[in-house]
């Protein structure tokens, strides 16, 4: 499955870009995360949530979307 992934905040600093297209095999969001962790090992040390097609989802949600986003919490004010 071809998925477009958006990276926000310091996640984009780990991946070195704000957006990319990836080919993912697997059924669940967790499968995508495994693929991302092996591509970007530093991601394992970051806190973030995943949104699929503009909706926040959990790791065991089925991959269905064309568009995913990795969102870290921001604390600045």
């Amino acid at each position: 499955m071809t998925i477009n992934i958006k990276y926000f905040g310091l996640i984009a600093e780990v991946t070195q870009h704000e957006e990319e297209t990836m080919n993912v095999s697997g059924r669940f969001i967790s499968d995508l995360l495994e693929a991302l962790y092996s591509k970007y090992p530093d991601l394992k040390n970051k806190d973030f949530q995943v949104a699929q097609n503009q909706e926040l989802v959990s790791e065991n949600t089925e991959l269905s979307g064309q568009e995913l986003a990795l969102l870290p919490p921001f604390s600045g004010g």
Binding site: K46, A69, F74, G76, G77
Partner: protein
Amino acid sequence: MNRYNRHIILSDIGQAGQDKLLNAKVLVVGAGGLGCPILQYLAAAGIGTLGIIDFDVVEMSNLQRQVLFGTSSLGENKAEAAKKRLEDLNNDILIIAYPERLTYQNAIDLCNEYDIIVDGSDNFETRYLVNDACIITNKPLVFGAIYKFEGQVSVFNYQNGPSYRCLFPNPPQKDTAPNCSEIGVLGVLPGIIGSMQANEVLKIILGIGNVLSGKLFCYNALTSQTSTLKINKSEEQIELVLKEKHNFKKRQLEIDCEFQSDDISIEDVLNFENIQFIDVREAHEQPKVDGLKITHIPLNQLENNLEKIDLSKQKMIICQSGMRSKQAVSLLRNSGILNCYSIKEGALDIIEILNKKHKATTNDR
């Protein structure tokens, strides 16, 4: 009633809407990058009662984005400096400054006094504290947060909607995002995000438009891209907070145990007015710092000499390396003395900076 004419002539607001604003009570947590534009627009809009809580003082490096302050506010408590500016902007409304830190002890009582809480704080611990206090007191929370060139906005706990914990259940344990003072922030960004928060407050009070509840709005100032993502409510997360509600006031902020962020550079302090320097080194320690009016109280005698501390001033503590001054700040705080800061430079560096400054002024002549 000329002041609010441009609101009143809008058919969606009218005199009835303006009266709602004048009867509303809003608490803004933090008068920093986000807090300044939030407060400015809410005061201008005629929010009848506006509370401001912030323990921090205005520093030179704040002026790049904290638009309520000027060089004349340097060294002043932010809540009080903001109140002063806002009273000039709008003397119709009641503005209450709380020059203290939001804590587990004061949060519930404060939230109970207001209809809407706005989070303009700059650290995760306060953000979770505000969120949990809003769940317990059942108040809507207008959330905004920034990171470098990006911002997030949402409204939590609004008409049974999701809370911040439904989005991010727990404060980050891993590599946490450092705050603006450590990594920098584009000055206009909190202006944009804070203005959006003020807009959500007005919509909630007026009952117009769609409130940003159950959604997280994300903005990137460099690409001008925005995303609005749907957040689902987690009853489990909210239950967890309510279940612990009786222990809420017993909890302690970790920030109070650490010393970070309360360090201040002597270079900034030299611009301040109304300060008391306190040297907590032993009498025999060298070198002496000349050229500043300094109260000498060795650290181990500090507790027994609290009467030497001028409560009307900002207390700047100095020592040999910047370590004992941190301990002194924490000791003074525990004794209930506010507005104490540790100068991060040690005596030697302080003298060097003072000398440089002195030379620069003599060369100017």
